[in-house]
Amino acid sequence: MDKKKYERPVILKQQSGLMNKFGSATSTQPMTDIEGVPVAELAAAYGSPLFVLSEKKMRDTQQQCQRIFRSRYPKVQFAWSYKTNYMNAVCSIFHSEGSWAEVVSEFEFDRARHLGVRGEHIIFNGPAKSAAALEKAVRAHSKIHIDHFDELYELIEITTSLGLKADVAIRVNVDVGIYPKWDRFGFNYENGEAREALKRIAASKTLRIVGLHMHIGTYIMSTEPFRVAVSKLVALANWLKQQLAIDLDYIDVGGGLPSHNTLKGQYLQADETLPALEQFADAITAPLFELESHGDAMPTLILESGRALVDGAGYLISTVLAVKRLSDGKRAYVIDAGINLLFTSLWYKHKMVPAQPTGVMREQANIYGPLCMNIDCIQEDASVPALKKGDRVVLMNVGAYTMTQWMQFITFRPAIVLITADGSPHVIRKAESLEYVMSLEEIPPSLRSLSA
């Protein structure tokens, strides 16, 4: 006789009358495959943990964003925010969709050049550009977004001594009512600093003002801050036109659009509370029609969206290493992916889905990573069906700021696999090995015998 299907015994206390503080019911549908490739096969072939990216998801999302913005404003250019995910394969996908490169360091600048991005299609942001990096950017005719006066003067010096001109914008910080204020980057709008900087640039012989730039923050949860900020940039552009007779090539509104992740402390799922992309696009584009005449040409709207484009295309396959109970009886799991790989779990409740069928009962459980460190907690009070040692799980929406912010700490960084548009998996970054990690180390001669 066939035996009954087994599910780990679970008893749950009913919390009647209380709002379910763990948010809306989530489906217990397992995620058995990613873009048609079985999770079990991926883990068997490439190991666990394993980052998996979907080319199709990236392209679909980028194309959808382009449609939404282009149907509202005639000239739109995306610039891929390298720091969000600068794996070569990922950048190549966004560049092939027409995106420029948005970089914030010489390292990222060099990566973009290595991939063959044309110099004038690189936007160079950031508060810490070295003289060498600035010189490279000037020679490549990249668009340099000046962050502060010291950089402005240094750039004048560099261009003067090279006898070259540079296309520049300034980063402008504006008060949009978000706390904490993001006023540490760029020149302030309200106190007149931005206008002073623009006057200084206009007076220089080597710098040409081609744009205005802002980036008001990341994971902005409402549309109003964008409307306010873009309105202020437009007012500044109109002032430039009136006072200095300068027509801009572009207005760069930065990134900041949210992804589908739910933030810690949010009870409802992100998708239930966040405005739609169309609403963000309305808020960003509407104020642009207040721009005073720019001859025939309207300035291009540049977007440096990062997480909104790639988060949903990233998955992290992980394996349950242990099922535990804490001293108060609470369920806890140890999985093989930790905070070393998911820095983002400090502020996100990454959705975790089993990769094989489970029972329908859900327990509240803490999900710990494998590090022998108290900070290594992926999520507290996650609502998960009963899992057992060896089960695979998939952490969702992990494409942004993970593969760039991960740490080689205690253990290796795993492989990254891209499922290409034809549905086949390709390793785009190998798993680290001991030789790779130690290849940069040296032991001074006096210590060598000790290690024998």
Partner: protein, 84 residues
């Protein structure tokens, strides 16, 4: 091997709904949990419960052993066992 005393007042319905009249608390329990609970209420020994679980369900002996102990831990956590 030990047996675990379940609170005598605990009422278990056929569909896995539990009620503890002394505190007014209610619980839900899944099929395997109900299977174990019923046998604990009958005063069965742990080892005997593990064996019948293995007979009835598609489960490896080590998993059954571990899960029964874990389940009793859950009952204790909710004060559903009588402490001697």
């Amino acid at each position: 091997m030990s047996s675990t005393q379940i609170s005598t007042s605990l009422a278990v319905s056929e569909n896995g709904f539990l009620f503890l009249p002394t505190t007014g608390e209610t619980f839900t329990v899944n099929e395997t949990g109900r299977f174990i609970l019923r046998r604990l209420q009958e005063g069965r020994e742990q080892q005997e419960i593990i064996s019948s679980l293995i007979d009835e369900f598609d489960v490896e002996p080590v998993d059954a052993q571990r899960d029964v102990l874990d389940f009793i831990g859950q009952l204790r956590q909710y004060h559903l066992t009588d402490t001697q």
